[in-house]
Subunit: 904 residues, 2 copies
């Protein structure tokens, strides 16, 4: 078994075996770039080590051979006296992985060779400093002694010599450090090995072992990197940037990783080793200065820039060292970049002809676009958050703290920007969402009311910031000792889930320039249509700005929740029968018609899919426990009033006191009766499992007048637009269908209404009829369903719940985190579509649906529609479009393009 | 198109075309039995009429031809003067159908022919009475004039003549009735037609039209009879049982339809027409008396008995008429019979060699067995119920009313039988179920706690008897004006959902004699195994008595609910972590081990499938709103005590007053704190959709120590039995599995525990490992799941909920009734398996599961397992066994046999 490859034996394609760093070192060797020679121990060797906890048989023999080759190539001797070969040992997995053991430099030095080195280089400072560094690194990463213990020794020596910086320490001082380091290790029972071969062997083992350290495992889990890759180990001849003023070390990017500009970007230090750049003790010099410091090296470096980019056809991030005026490249890799830079580099490289447009599309990860689409806190600002919560809705916002929705509106009307802070929010807070810049809640998860509404409105939201304690009565919140009063300014970052004090500077988002061109390339490639979920005119406009081709989900219940409508909705629910509901529905009809008219007008000829009322009615009602509590308080107040002769306000809430308005017991009696009545009615609405209850089409079947009102509102809006010469493109969608006959009954209502409205206007209304596919049974009988509708739209949130038999709300708060930790699920199935169960049902539904109706249009709406991995799956299933929240439209456009490129 | 068949043209196989009655009349004609001749108009003609609302072209021509044939055969003339042919017209669908127009007799009479008839028969009374009857029947059923209007005229004439009975009316009186009948019809604009052909045509149309009358439609819906069968019309020569003392009319059964005994059974009236027997004015004479009254006819009739049974090989119910000493058979059909008779007749006929055993099996409808298996109220007793509710759990019970579970126990210990009456029940009432004879609740549906627990324990239960008002404080219930105090005796009939006053006599159930033999025949035929759902030793014994081959579902949570365990379960739930839970689990372990030991002992070598804990933990906790209410009351009491200086007990409940026990405010403070703490903990347990929450294997994953305790209890019980030389046959079943890894994690626990216990005892524990398949995703990944388990058991209640996305509890209380009325569902999918969606998923699961593991054993547990239609479906899917409540075991045995006979 070959475990060791010389750099001259490999190439860039061998990343699986040699790791990313090793493969690129080999590739650069092939290119003839000045790479310090060395060899790579394979990932295979690592895996064997991890599996058996012992070095693979024959490995060290191969290492010895390779060291011998290296000695031959370089004319130096490992552990030798003159021209001694010192080595660096670095880990190098297929994917760059923080948390693993990284680097050991100067390996080969010991108490004897350090003196040889001092003589050979005539630079004892250099030699003893190198040795000191080596022991410290080796002690830290191989022998696992805390870094602080070495620093303490250094500090003590610096103090005793009265100097401030390490490189000011005298040679004698360095010798003292070295001996105290060794004493430290010995004292801990971990003697520093003098034998270079032992040093090498232990270093290789340490790299192997670090594959399985907890930080590395966590990183792999978070980044979905498989556990069975292993890491390679690169053993390389040391070159020294700290050999004097003709030596230097630095890092360089072939383009600016922050902006994407094509410019020489990087920094260096004269007379330094790599770790000095990282340690931040000396301030590195910008790369363009190298032109002055080392003219020839700079010219060599420019050539390296050209050759690396041309060869790897991507922006490179490389390390270099100049040893006595000679340039060495120590490693190169594709450089990490900001989202903005990712887009610019991809577009520029395509324009330069370095890559084609499809490759450009593959260069940007869809999720990266997210931060480009929301207002952000100026990235140059660095402020500590005072609290953290869930990243419930992305974007950043600043404003004055208010604690209820009415105040948001009041303050907004006074021209003030507010942030709405609540323990949790409810439908009757919705006007506060609209009036404030963002929302912060102390409780609630990713699907809490606050989170869902904020996302759909594109308002930044941090939810479930548990450290936040809110006192509504005192209009005050506290975070630890920090007290924030109403009106104090705070900033939230919904992308990161952070809360900061004060108003921070922001950077606005827009789709223009490079991003616009980039997305147009994606549009040209993708097969999936991209629509938006939008319930309001603002949402529709936002969707268009981000490139939506239509609205795939317009939820009518969001309109119901508006503060001017909610009282009518409540009245509608409390009405005993159709007769009582009729006048209320008339009012709601007028409101919905004008809502629809506005949204259809904005969307022009693009399709708009309107979903009929979906949630159970009790969702629109005030909280039962709140009502019950008020009732209890009022009754107690009454009882006590009998004793005291007066209404004691001591235990009443502000709202109740206000409502009593000093009118006395009669008023209290009325309030008691009104609340008792409402509670009684709400008993009928109570459901044990609201998710599986009386909602969607089931509501439409038992309350056909509500659906008819909505259908009528849609029909009139369409008719008015046609009359005005427009061409609205509207689809009516029925939610929660499980039984084919449900669709027939609602279709009869649609047909009746359309006929009536057509007759009134004298022209036909081209409104299509379709259904959500969000119930398991609907997937199974999709062949029957397809005969009743013109389109399907998957509701994969509900479908996921039904397929797993766990509700999102309950799962995310309870066992799903444990499931993710135990790796029972590959990520949260509510974020990324379950590729086995749910996708299988979808495949069945598409197959059966199209068996009846080959031209059936099939889409997906809901959060999965904006998730790149899910988009890849639904592309594979053969859907026609995805629909997602406006802010995820660009992500979906890119993800759809990448799916098309990868799967076809 | 041939629409009309003479009786001599058809046979018994032509029921689709000629209806049941027509086909049997033809058959009897072929047999040479004395059938008054006639013809049948086909169901096809009816369907055309119903479709086009007009008589099919050519139909009346064919009728005329057939009447001509009839005239030729009989030598009589339709509408003629002497030897006039009078006709009867009767409907006759394929299935007997109440609610349809039935019979018109004496058709052909009019003002002229009645006089001819009077002359020809020399019996004017007979003639005018026949005419009077004809007009009345015709007016009622053809012309749709209320029956009461005719009766009023009859009454008036009787009164004016001073007689009491119709046949005492004078000839003149009859003539007056006739003319007033005709005047009545004319006055309503519906003149009585004198033309016999018009009479015939209108009668046929009336029969056709009655196919679509609301009562007939409702009947078809209830009995699952298709709407597109239509009815035939039988036109038959009249024969007269009312021609004097040598004439008679009667009905006969070839065996006793109540007991099944082989004896001459029936009754007759001398000198009467058929309707007189039905009308109940004269008391018919038992058939055995005919031997004395009409010796020759009796001998003829005996031959008819023999021939009919031999020919039709089933018990026949037939009508006969004797006209002047000549016997005519008017119709025959398979006789309806009681469940008891059904079994006896089937067994006897097989013993007699009349039918084979498979035919015998097909002769008893499985549901019929239900009433044979529960104690019933003596069927001879006729008492009006004082209230009705849902038939929540079958069987009848009497006892003294008590209003709480503790009283049930107390009274039982005093040797008294009680009925537990509650507004609703909770898990902590379970000891009351055990102690009482039956349960009555005022609220709750078929899946309420009371209903489910009662069914599983085989206790009669009437649930949701809404008229019952319960006052716990006064220990009293009222139903309307009726007041029932604690200790008063009542009887409930859980089969019918009725509540009666007093203690009624009962009839006990047992499986023996005919039923035992009958079921053993079914056992020989069926392919499906039949197991019981049983959670207690009593349940296990009951299951064995009813013939269960094992326990397919032993729910451990039922054991948790026992009153001696619930406090430990609550403590277990409230414990903060595994350390705190440990000592509590030790206690529960001891209890569960002895439970299992007892059940396994009873079941011997038969398989027992134990399901690990399934329901969410909060189900074991007291009600949150109850706790909150107590807290509120205690706090109010405290506040008021500050004002008054004394604890006012005015507003406290009895329980709270008792708990305070006069100890004052300190005690109240402790009670407040204790309740506040418990409420706080319960907040964490709250779930929005408990059905989709933290339960089943998800609980096992997050609380592995609870599952481990249960597994250990099972393992020790098995080990102890093996040690005692027994061969227990135990299976561990994991509920709610959605992800294959869940099974791996629990299997690791099982393996660990079994290894430990095996080591301790020194022998292997042959316990099998399997899973419920009740989550949609589990069906889809059944191929993966099958590699981890030895058996599947479908939980089709949960699977149905997930497939339809509606919860049983919420659906049955809200929209499911409307769905059944609108025919959106064919019956309640929670009672009978959904043959489309859910069955399709099951098919997928079985197919995929067996693709991995061809020998995989697959069963179904839960209510569908005892439903005959569902059993038929799962037989078709290829399951190995069903498991159902003990009382449905015999039904399942029969249904499984019938499925095997029908499908193979």
């Amino acid at each position: 078994m070959k475990y060791v490859y010389g750099f001259n034996e490999g190439d860039a394609t061998m990343k699986d075996l040699l790791g990313g760093k090793g493969a690129n070192l080999a590739e650069m060797t092939r290119m003839g770039l000045p790479v310090p020679q060395g060899f790579t121990i394979t990932t295979e060797a690592c895996l064997r080590y991890v599996r058996h906890r012992t070095m693979p048989k024959g490995l060290m023999d191969q290492v010895r051979e390779s060291v011998a080759d290296l000695e031959e190539q370089t004319g130096k001797v490992f552990g030798g006296e003159k021209d001694m070969l010192l080595l660096s040992v670095r880990s190098g997995a297929k994917f760059s992985m923080p948390g693993m053991m990284d680097t050991i430099l100067n390996l080969g030095l010991n108490d004897r060779t350090v003196e040889d080195l001092a003589k050979a280089t005539s630079d004892p400072r250099f030699a003893y400093d190198s040795y000191r560094r080596f022991i410290q690194m080796f002690g830290d990463v191989v022998m696992e002694v805390e870094h602080e213990k070495f620093e303490a020794i250094l500090l003590e020596v610096r103090e005793s010599e009265g100097v401030k910086l390490d490189h000011e320490i005298s040679i004698e001082g360095l010798k003292r450090v070295i001996s105290e380091y060794q004493a430290l290790l010995k004292g801990l029972g971990r003697e520093f090995p003098q034998d270079p071969w032992v040093q090498l062997r232990m270093s290789v083992e340490a790299v192997f072992g670090s594959w399985d350290n907890p930080r590395a495992i966590t990183y792999r889990r978070l980044n979905k990197i498989p556990d069975d890759l292993g890491t390679a180990v690169n053993v390389q001849m040391m070159v020294f940037g700290n050999m004097g003023m003709a030596s230097a070390t630095g890092v360089a990017f072939t383009r600016n990783p922050a902006t994407g500009e094509k410019e020489y970007y990087g920094e260096y230090l004269i007379n330094a080793q790599g770790e000095d750049v990282v340690a931040g003790i000396r301030t590195p010099i910008p790369l363009e200065n190298l032109d002055k410091d080392m003219k020839k090296v700079f010219l060599d470096l420019k050539k390296v820039f050209e050759r690396l980019e041309k060869h790897f056809t991507d922006m490179q991030d490389f390390e270099f060292t100049v040893e006595n005026g000679t340039l060495f490249i120590l490693q190169t890799r594709n450089g990490k970049r900001t989202p903005q830079a990712a887009v610019k580099i991809a577009v520029d490289m395509a324009d330069e002809g370095l890559i084609d447009r499809n490759t450009a599309i593959a260069r940007v990860i869809p999720e990266q676009l997210e931060t480009l689409l929301h207002r952000q806190i100026d990235p140059d600002i660095d402020v500590e958050p005072i609290a953290t919560g869930l990243s419930a809705s992305p974007g950043a916002a600043s404003g004055a703290v208010v604690f209820n929705a009415d105040d948001s509106v009041k303050w907004r009307d006074d021209g003030k920007k507010t942030l709405l802070v609540r323990i949790e929010t409810r439908p009757d807070d919705i006007h506060g969402f609209d009036a404030s810049e963002g929302i912060l809640t102390a409780t609630g998860g990713m699907t809490s009311h606050a989170a869902v509404v904020a996302r759909s409105m594109g308002k930044p939201c941090v939810a479930g910031a548990e450290a936040v304690r809110i006192d509504y009565a005192e209009r005050r919140m506290t975070i630890g000792d920090q007290v924030i009063e109403e009106g104090d300014l705070i900033t939230i970052d919904g992308t990161k889930g952070e809360v900061m004090l004060g108003e921070l500077p922001m950077v606005e988002a827009e789709i223009s320039g490079d991003l616009e061109r980039f997305l147009s390339w994606a549009d040209a490639v993708r097969r999936l249509g991209v629509r938006a979920n939008a319930d309001t005119p603002e949402g529709a406009r936002q969707a268009l700005r981000f490139g939506a081709e239509g609205i795939g989900l317009c939820r009518t219940e969001r309109m119901f929740n508006a503060p001017d409508r909610l009282p009518f909705v409540v009245a509608m629910i409390l009405a005993d029968d159709q007769t009582a509901r009729k006048p209320i529905l008339e009012k709601l009809f007028e409101m919905q018609r004008s809502d629809f008219f506005e949204i259809f007008t904005i969307m022009g000829t693009r399709p708009v899919t309107v979903r009929l009322l979906d949630p159970p009615l009790h969702e629109f009602m005030p909280s039962r426990s709140g009502l019950a509590r008020e009732l209890e308080l009022l009754r107690t107040a009454k009882t006590m009033a009998k004793v005291n002769g007066d209404i004691s306000t001591e235990m009443l809430t502000d709202e109740l006191i206000e409502e009593i308005a000093g009118e006395g017991l009669e008023r209290v009696d009325i309030m008691i009766e009104q609340r008792a009545n409402m509670l009684e009615k709400m008993k009928d609405l109570f459901e044990v499992n609201p998710m599986l209850g009386h909602r969607g089409v089931r509501l439409g079947i038992t309350h056909p007048d509500i659906y008819e009102m909505q259908i009528r509102a849609i029909a009139y809006a369409v008719a008015e637009l046609i009359k005005a010469g427009k061409k609205p493109n509207v689809e009516i969608m029925v939610p929660q269908v499980a039984i084919v006959e449900e669709l027939r009954i609602i279709r009869d209502i649609v047909a009746k209404v359309l006929l009536e409205v057509s007759d009134e206007y004298g022209f036909a209304l081209p409104i299509r009829y379709g259904t959500m596919i969000e119930v398991v049974r609907a997937c199974l009988i999709a062949d029957q369903i397809a005969s009743k509708v013109e389109f399907f739209s998957f509701g994969t949130n509900d479908l996921t719940q039904a397929t797993f038999s766990f509700s999102r709300e309950d799962a995310e708060g309870k066992f799903l985190p444990a499931y993710e930790v135990l790796e029972l699920v590959k990520g949260n199935p509510f974020s990324t579509l379950d590729g086995e169960g749910v996708a299988d049902l979808m495949r069945i539904a598409v197959e059966r649906g199209r068996s009846t109706s080959p031209e059936l249009k099939v889409g997906i709406c809901g959060e999965h529609g904006g998730d790149p991995d899910s988009i890849r799956i639904v592309h594979g299933i053969g859907l026609d479009y995805v629909s997602c929240s406006p802010f995820r439209i660009p992500i979906a456009r890119l993800a759809a393009a990448r799916a098309a490129l990868e799967l076809e």
